[in-house]
């Protein structure tokens, strides 16, 4: 767990004091530095004067609101990890936030573990040395070599169609980050297909049959219900493994670090 995060400095933006008060102690205790802002406007000021490693940004705030704040942040800090805090039933907001360049979103009410995992993933992605376009990507058993357009699983070649490869490449090069349906469709099929979600679902199902041990409960290619898909990154995979191998008598405080961030609606 102790990655060399050498103190992550977080800007927490939420108009609800209860949430700020609840988040500060555990985050501080776990080695994060937390700066609070009540509104988007205040957050923008703080970001201009100070440096931060990540921003936790509530979507629903009085004033300019989360999405507009995000847009303005992106205008001067394109790579700063921004994670949106949203509620269930707000899928459109989530998709919009992703479109505006958010790194991830977390659905209220979330657990501290989930939040920290997401923040670390996002920060890690930014801090990782930039990868060459053609460099192979290896996550768990899956290895994708863009140069040869080749995918192997535990050393065995996996035969993918062009679209399947396109989807996998897009997701794996953004490992850990949710990619919206529209973004996937636009990248792989083209902009005129951005509404054809059913295409995507069919191809993802085929793809899962080829790369997952149990396609009905995927370990790599996860669904963000109503939003899009995400490919796990190496750390998330390790966390999953850690929990599976944990002593069954000592159940973890948290169920699973959220392979599915959204449960299906009732």
């Amino acid at each position: 767990m102790n990655m060399s995060e050498s103190e992550i400095r977080i800007l927490l933006v939420d108009d609800e004091s209860a949430i700020r008060r609840a988040l500060r102690p555990p985050l501080t205790e776990l080695g994060f530095e937390v700066v609070e802002a009540i509104r988007g406007e205040e957050a923008l000021q703080l970001l201009r004067t100070g440096t931060f490693d990540a921003v936790l940004l509530d979507i629903n705030m009085p004033g300019i609101g989360g999405i507009e704040t995000l847009r303005r942040i992106r205008s001067f800090a394109p790579r700063l990890p921004v994670l949106m805090l949203t509620v269930r039933d707000a899928e459109e907001e989530k998709v919009r936030a992703l479109d505006e360049g958010a790194d991830d979103y977390i659905t209220k009410p979330f657990s501290v573990r989930e939040l920290i995992a997401r923040v670390r993933t996002a920060v890690r992605r930014v801090r990782a040395p930039s990868r060459a376009e053609d460099a192979p990507i290896e996550i768990g058993d899956i290895r994708l070599s863009p140069a040869q357009k080749r995918v192997t699983r535990r050393g065995q070649a996996v035969h993918l169609t062009r679209k399947e490869y396109g989807i996998l490449h897009c997701l794996m090069s953004h490992a850990g980050r949710p990619v919206s349906n529209a973004e996937l469709l636009t990248t792989v099929w083209g902009a005129e297909y951005r509404e054809e979600v059913e295409y995507l679902r069919t191809f993802v199902r085929q793809l899962r049959k080829k790369i997952e041990d149990d396609p009905s409960s995927p370990a790599y290619l996860l669904t963000d219900v109503y939003v899009g898909y995400r490919f796990v990154d190496a750390e998330m995979l390790q966390d999953q493994a850690a929990i599976v191998t944990q002593d069954p008598d000592q159940p973890p405080l948290e169920p699973v670090p959220q392979p599915l961030p959204e449960q299906q609606k009732p």
Binding site: A18, R88, S216, Q264
Partner: protein, 504 residues
């Protein structure tokens, strides 16, 4: 509107028969005698004058004729007849004193008498006709204005209260009737005004049940069945001086007013229900939203405590309990929110082609935790089956059915999810073995907040989920139902039409 067989004469029923000679009130007899006396006196005077001045007979007869004509015109035939008779007698008496008895036998007097009588008859008929026409015209005008007044007043009537009593009072007042009774078959109510010797309720109901519309001139009773189109909706009985045509019109107006009242009441009830529903949804929605923030704070606090990792096992147990219960509250809140939005019509149907296989897979994956200890079988008739529907709504429906099956199924039994397609619709069904749902409950379990009496002890539930499922199906123009028996188990069905219509 009325199909009653009534004469179309527009004369007041009773006044038509009371004109002319009719043994009626003392007042009329007195007038008759007075008119006769006056006529006879005139004859005697004329005869005396003629005799005194020695007028020729024709001149005397001319004067007598004038008196007879006058009597016939102003009084009537019978008065004129009496005057004619007296004229003959008086003249005979004056001409031939002491031979009165023979006068009747004189052929000249007989001829004169017949002529007088004929003239009296013609003149009195003429006079009566002219007078009747005048009365009719006047009565017509009065009734028109009464009907106009009645129409105006019924239109201005307050329809927030039942109109029956108001109508009865109004009819009696405007048409100056002795008594009125109105029977409203729909509400099974009678409304009366004025005095009835018999039980008016019984009278009015018999008119309604036997459907007899008629007018009885002798008693002044007018009976009418109130109809809307051809459907009888009540009855009306009036007693007093009216005409069949007026009665018809009154009956039509009353029927129309009843109809207007019903439409009005219906409309305001629907409006009230809609507003109540909207208010409830708004309250639910804002409540559910207001719950999210404290729930998040509680969850963050409890999980934060756990992450900080300085807790004794007992403390950790309590903290995880807080977390768990917060999650339960959250689930509840989310459901309330969903149903509130569905009910408020805020959710619009976003129909798209949905692969049934991937839909079912997603739903089952979403319920992975709940289904971990269950056996699940999925049968999809056609793996490539596509359905044009709102993925999210149908997903909610299936989630609810499966979740429900988890809650109530017996341990170790299999939950079967099945999708079949008929010509016009796709049928989703979720089968499980569990306690039988009583017949009386099978409709009502889809109502919001309804929970079967014997279910309340067994499993946690809010009585919201199935209402969401029903609403989701309805929005697609589909329907939901359940079959249940102890031996066969319980199956929840949802039929979604192939051609989904936009429903709000």
């Amino acid at each position: 509107m009325e199909t009653g067989h009534v004469p179309d004469a527009f004369t007041p029923t009773r006044s038509a028969f009371s004109s002319g000679f009719a043994p009626g009130s003392g007042m009329k007899e007195l007038r008759f005698v007075f008119q006769c006396t006056l006529g006879v006196l005139g004859i005697v005077c004329a005869a005396a004058l003629a005799h005194r001045f020695g007028w020729l007979l024709p001149a005397a007869l001319l004067i007598d004729l004038a008196i007879v004509v006058l009597t016939a015109w102003l009084g009537g035939f019978w008065q004129a007849l009496a005057v004619s008779l007296s004229a003959i007698l008086v003249h005979t008496a004056f001409n031939a004193r002491g031979r009165i008895l023979q006068a009747a036998a004189d052929p000249a007097s007989s001829v004169t008498l017949v002529a007088f009588v004929l003239i009296a008859l013609v003149v009195s008929r003429l006079s009566a006709h002219v007078r009747r026409t005048a009365t009719e015209a006047e009565s017509w005008g009065r009734q028109m204005s009464d009907l106009y007044e009645f129409t105006r007043r019924t239109l201005a009537m307050n329809l927030n209260i039942e109109p029956g009593q108001q109508l009865a009072d109004l009819v009696q007042e405007i048409f100056s009737l002795e008594a009125v009774v109105i029977f409203d078959a729909d509400l099974h109510q009678t409304y009366q005004a004025g005095y009835w010797r018999q039980d008016p309720q019984e009278l009015a109901q018999s008119v309604y049940y036997f459907e007899n519309s008629d007018d009885d001139p002798a008693s002044g009773l007018g009976r009418r069945v109130l109809r809307l189109g051809n459907v009888p909706i009540g009855s009306l009985i009036v007693r007093g001086d009216t005409t069949p045509l007026t009665n018809n019109t009154i009956a039509s107006l009353i029927a129309t007013t009843f109809d207007r009242y019903r439409a009005f009441a219906n409309e305001s009830q629907i409006e009230t229900e809609r507003r109540t529903e909207q208010l409830r949804s708004t309250v639910l929605d804002s409540l559910a939203h207001a719950y999210k923030t404290p729930l998040t704070a509680i969850r963050v606090a409890s999980t934060g405590l756990g992450e900080m990792g300085k807790l004794s096992p007992a403390q950790a147990e309590l903290v995880s309990l807080i977390d768990e219960q917060a999650a339960v509250l959250n689930e509840l809140t989310t459901r309330l929110l969903t149903t509130a939005r569905l009910d408020a019509g805020e959710v619009s149907l976003q129909a798209e082609p949905v692969g049934v296989r991937s839909l079912v897979d997603d739903v089952v994956a979403g319920l992975k935790d709940r289904l971990a200890s269950m056996k699940v079988a999925i049968h999809i008739e056609d793996e490539d089956l596509e359905l044009k529907c709102d993925r999210q709504l149908i997903g909610s429906l299936l989630t609810q059915y499966i979740d429900n099956a988890c809650k109530y199924s017996l341990y170790g039994t299999t939950i079967s999810i099945r999708v079949t397609r008929s010509k016009s619709e796709t049928i989703f069904s979720v089968h499980s073995f569990g306690p039988e749902i009583p017949t009386a409950d099978r409709e009502r379990i889809f109502d919001r907040f309804y929970r079967s009496a014997n279910a309340s002890h067994r499993a946690a539930g809010t009585g919201i989920g199935l209402a969401v499922a029903k609403r989701a199906a309805q929005m697609h123009g589909g329907q939901v139902w359940v079959s249940s028996s102890q031996s066969e188990g319980t199956t929840f069905f949802a039929a979604i039409p192939a051609a989904v219509l936009q429903r709000s």
